[in-house]
Structures are given as C-alpha cells and as structure tokens.
Point group: C2
Chain length 355, copies 2
C-alpha cells in the first residue's frame, strides 16, 4: 500500500462538520484574543510581524478548544477561560518558533519557517517575546477568575513549560548524540513531556480549574490527556510521512530529512536486519543537506514493507481508545453537555484528522 | 594614548574593597538561591548543566545587589527580596544565552559561549528552561511578600522582559538591515530597552515594592536606573574594546568583530570623512569570519585618533553624575543607611570598574 494514500480507518464516532465548526469557533476566539494582546507599539518589521506570523497561519486550535470546552464541561463560562486559552495558544506558537530553529525545519503550516524568513537571531527573539506576552494574559486572570485560581493556573503553566523544555532536551540529546537505541517507551516518555502536557493535559487541567473543578476531579485529566496527546502526536508524525505538503503544511517526510524519532522509525529500527539497520542509521545520522531524496524514499519504502506505519496507526488508535475509556469511567461524573460531547469527539478526531 | 591602557579616571567616591565585598555577598546569596531552584530531576547533560553554566561563571551580581539593597534601603529585609533577585539574575543569564546566539559571540565570562559548547539547539532550549524557572521563583513570592506585592512584581517582570525583547529586536534589526545612520539618542533608546530596564530600573523598582515603598517613591528609580544603566552599558562597551580578554572575559574588541552599535562607533561614524566612513561601513558590514584583524585594528586606531573612546567615557560619566544627582534630589527622602550608601557607591562603580 502506498504511504501517500489517505484512507478512513474506522467509522467516525462524531459528526465531522460539527466538530470542525466547533474547533474553528474556539480557535477564532483564542486567536482574536491573542492578536489583541500583541502591543501595536512593538517594532513592526523586526518583532510584531514575527510574533503574529505563526498564530495567523491556518492551524487546528486544539489547545484552546480543550481548555475552553473543559471549562464549560464543568459549568464555567467560556469567556472565563479565554485569556488562558490565548496564553496557551501563544505559548504553543512560541514553542514552534524555537523548535523549528532547533530542528532546522523548512516549512510550518505551508509556509517557510520563521527563521527561514527572518533569520535565526530575530526568530529566537520573537519566540522570547511570545513567551513574555503569555505572562500578560495570565496576569489579567487576576481580574477574571480571582487570586486563587490565577495562582493555580500559573502553577500549571510553570509545570507545563518545564515539561516541554525537558522533553525537548531529551529529543535534542538523542539527535546530538546520534542515539538510536530507543524503545516505544522512550518515545512515549519524551512525547508526554515535549508535547503531551502543553497540548492536552495542561489545557484540560486549566479549563477544569477555571470551571471550578475540585482537585480530585482534575487529576483524571492527566491520564486522559496523556493518552490523547500521544495519539495526537503519532498521528501528526504519520501525516508528516503521508500527507501531501499542500494539505499538511510541512515538508513531505520532513521528519525523515530531520531524523526525527517517531513510533514508525523506532518500529523499523527494531524490525530490520543488521545490514539494513546499519544503512538506516547511516542515512539518519547525515545532516539534512547530505541526505538524498532516494535515501529518504528508501526509508519510507522499508517502513511500508515492515508495516511500521500500520503499526503506528494501531498504537495511536490504542491510545485514543484508552482516552475514550477514561472519559467513560474516571471522568463519567462530568454531566452530559455539548462541551463534554466535544471533548469525546476530539479523541476520535485526533486519530482521524487529515491535517 | 593606547586603548589598552587601563587608568583611573576620577577619584573614587567609595571604598573599592568594601563595595566589591558587598557585591560578592549579594551575588553569592542570589546564585545559591538560583542553584537551589534548578531541579535535580532535569536531564543533566542536555539541560541542567547548561542551565547552570553561565550563572556559575564569575560575574558581578549587579542586579541582585540593586534589588536587595533597594529593598533594604526602604526598610525591608534582604531575604524578602531573595526570590526576586534570584529570578532577575536567572532571567539575565537566560537573556545572555539567547543574546550570544543572536550575536554569534564566541566568549562569555572567559569561556566559550553556551552554543559554542553545546550547539545552538540545546542552547536555545536551555535559555527557554531558564526563563520558565524564573516563573517558579516569582510564584513562591506569594508565600513571602503576599498577593498584592507578588502581583505587582509580576507586572514589573512582564514589562521588564517585554522591553528587553523590544530593544533586542531594534538592535538586531539594525544588524539585519546594515543600518548605520545612528545618533547617540538611538543608542540610548535601544540600550534603555535592551538592558536598562532589566539591569537597573526593574531590579530597583522590585526591591522598592518589596521594601514597602509607595508608588510615588518608586517612580524616581526610572530616571535613576535609566542613567545608571546607560553608564553601565557604555562602560561595558569600553571594556570590550580595551579590556584584556583574561580580565574582561569576552573576546578582545569582540564588539567590533560582531559589528555592535556603541557610543564609540556612532561617534566615529559621525566624525570621520566620507572616504573613511565608506571604508568603516564596508568593514562593519562584513560577517565576522570575513573581517581581518588588521581591519579591526584600523577601526580601533581611528577611534583613538578621533577621541571616540574618550568621548564615550565622558558620556558614561555624565550619565553617572546624573544618577548621583537623582539620588541626592528625587531619592533624598530615603533615610541614610548602609544599603543606601551601597546604591550610591554602585553609581561610581559602574563607570570605574575594570571588568
């Protein structure tokens, strides 16, 4: 089977149009708030334009949707979570700006990465600016959700960002040390830290805090978000290999050019013979510019042969099923609502999405 | 006169040994607190070692001294300002890590820059980690100085960091656009933003808040810190040209290799003939690796001939004198104490220091 073919894998447990409309709504709210928060007094061509570049490109808006709908699921008002959702979305974009430099990525959301456009120095600085702007949004929480919840949200954000830099340092360490003796568990641990917290767990926890959830009601989101986050990340990695650039917005198979550790790659490394593995590692250890298109195609081909991508799909669906189970068990105390239905639907969405 | 000769310029208004001992005390406190706050759970070789690298190198500790002594000058306890002083010191080091990448600097405090040692990706990420660790220190303020002051300190920090990234974007924009039509006013404005706030104004303001100062008692520190900060920065730039590498800890004349805009350079640009200016700009616009030692020496020589360094010294002393005046006028309401004497002495120190 060709890796470029996109196919539905299960029957969907949600109405796709409804979900995409809801996602777009939450995203529009968060981005509008985010844009409002970028001071017009910033130097335009060397800072303000750069800060807004990624947020204004097309994106899914998963994080604001998780944050605001979790708040609503606990009976809170969507508006109460708006500043936090905007802060998380801005933080996410800041992380992407630095991540793209660190990985030397070429494309982001269908256009050149920020450092490709403006050079590394201005891009690093823009990422720093984005980080500090999240602080302003979180400080404004004092007036919206009170001292106690503002303080708790800050604690969540601090933990979230710390996990992200820890995860990033693990992954960059693997790259720097040309380390390939990895198991899936290593990947799960890195992925939980690097993206799991800030993509899923923390947005849900912060939404729950704002919605008025008690601490014991918040903790199940750790497991829910962990499973959702891994499912999301694996699907992201699959789309990177499969997706048409025009749809997915990143360089096709950019992850292989960058030598990114994924479930598929770990599966292949552990399911090929010694000679193939040596060849594979020798390609992977080359810098981007030293790799050839035929070498990248060879890896993709081997992944197809060994069922690495099918395996990754299965793992992603397993994690998504577990997230759904948690919603039906540990989180069943949350009363039924449109917001809860959205949270449930998002689980299916992350493994079925095409971009 | 040779630019390498270090000479005392005025009679000192303070006891040098006493001042250096006090600075060392404040620094030791802040660094001890900072180190305590770097979790031992962080991945060691890819993150923790990097986070601690700059803070553990020799440094002056000006920022913690300003923060804690201002707190004491208002009758506060030094300990109450410790978390904030550690946060500011850590923030300063985070800024240096990213700044060194942005400027492609080779040395920092006598040793290779972080990215020269660990590569750009891990160094960017370490800077991000340092930034988030400041958040933890500021959150712990809730338990030490209460909700109101903690909130006000956060507001100060947000402003401080925003100014720094604004200033940095201005300077990087000048580099990117090969822009040399600068006046001293442009330099003062950039320097106020890039380093003035976080080096002088904000440490003093935060110390004053913790010490219990009223808002109208805090505002004179804006002008005090502005003048102190510019004096400090100009002296820093002079030392870069003059200092022996072993003493100063940066590459000798590294600023000329990097093409950094300074008061001396702006003076020279505006005080040479057209032919010299064309030659000067052509050297400055070359990337570091394309410049030759004789070209850099030519610039240094011209600066001597045209009195650019003497001029910069005069400007630094003018700013220092103004800071002293403010201490004697707008800040004269602060009762005499060892802490106040230290603040006064620091003004002389910044323009007389040799490293």
């Amino acid at each position: 089977m060709s890796t470029t073919e996109l196919r539905p894998v299960d029957s969907y447990g949600y109405d796709e149009d409804w979900l995409e409309q809801r996602l777009a709504e939450y995203k529009a709210l968060a981005i509008e708030e985010l844009v409002r928060r970028v001071p017009t007094s910033l130097p335009r061509t060397t800072l303000r334009d750069l800060v807004l570049e990624y947020p204004l490109r097309p994106g899914k808006g998963l994080r604001p949707a998780l944050c605001m709908s979790t708040c609503e699921a606990f009976g809170g008002r969507r508006d109460s979570a708006l500043f936090s959702a905007a802060a998380i979305e801005l933080y996410h974009n800041a992380f992407l700006v630095h991540d793209d430099i660190e990985d030397d990525s070429l494309l982001r959301r269908g256009l050149p990465t920020l450092h490709a456009q403006y050079g590394i120095p201005l891009a690093i600085n823009a990422g720093d600016a984005m980080n500090v702007l999240t602080l302003r949004a979180l400080l404004d929480n004092f007036n919206v959700v009170g001292v106690d919840r503002t303080q708790r949200i800050f604690e969540e954000i601090e933990w979230m960002v710390l996990k992200a830099v820890e995860g990033q340092s693990l992954e960059l360490g693997w790259v720097r040390n040309a380390f390939w003796d990895l198991t899936e568990k290593d990947y799960f641990m890195m992925s939980l830290k690097k993206t799991g917290w800030y993509t899923c767990i923390s947005p849900c926890r912060i939404g729950a805090i704002i919605g008025g959830a008690a601490p014991h009601q918040i903790n199940p989101f750790n497991s829910f978000g962990y499973h959702l986050g891994i499912a999301f990340q694996i699907q992201d990695d699959i789309l990177n290999l499969r997706g048409e650039q025009i749809l997915y917005g990143k360089e096709r198979a950019g992850d292989l050019w960058e030598g990114k550790r994924t479930v598929m790659l770990i599966h292949l490394l552990n399911n090929c013979n010694q000679k193939e593995r040596r060849h594979l590692v020798s390609i992977l250890n080359k810098r981007r510019v030293k790799k050839s298109a035929s070498e990248v195609a060879w890896i993709l081909d081997k992944m197809d042969q060994r069922g690495s991508i099918l395996h990754a799909e299965e793992v992603a669906r397993r994690f998504a099923r577990r997230a759904t189970e948690i919603m039906h068990t540990e989180l069943c105390f949350i009363p039924e609502s449109g917001a809860k239905a959205l949270l449930r639907a998002l689980v299916d969405y992350v493994v079925h999405r095409k971009l």
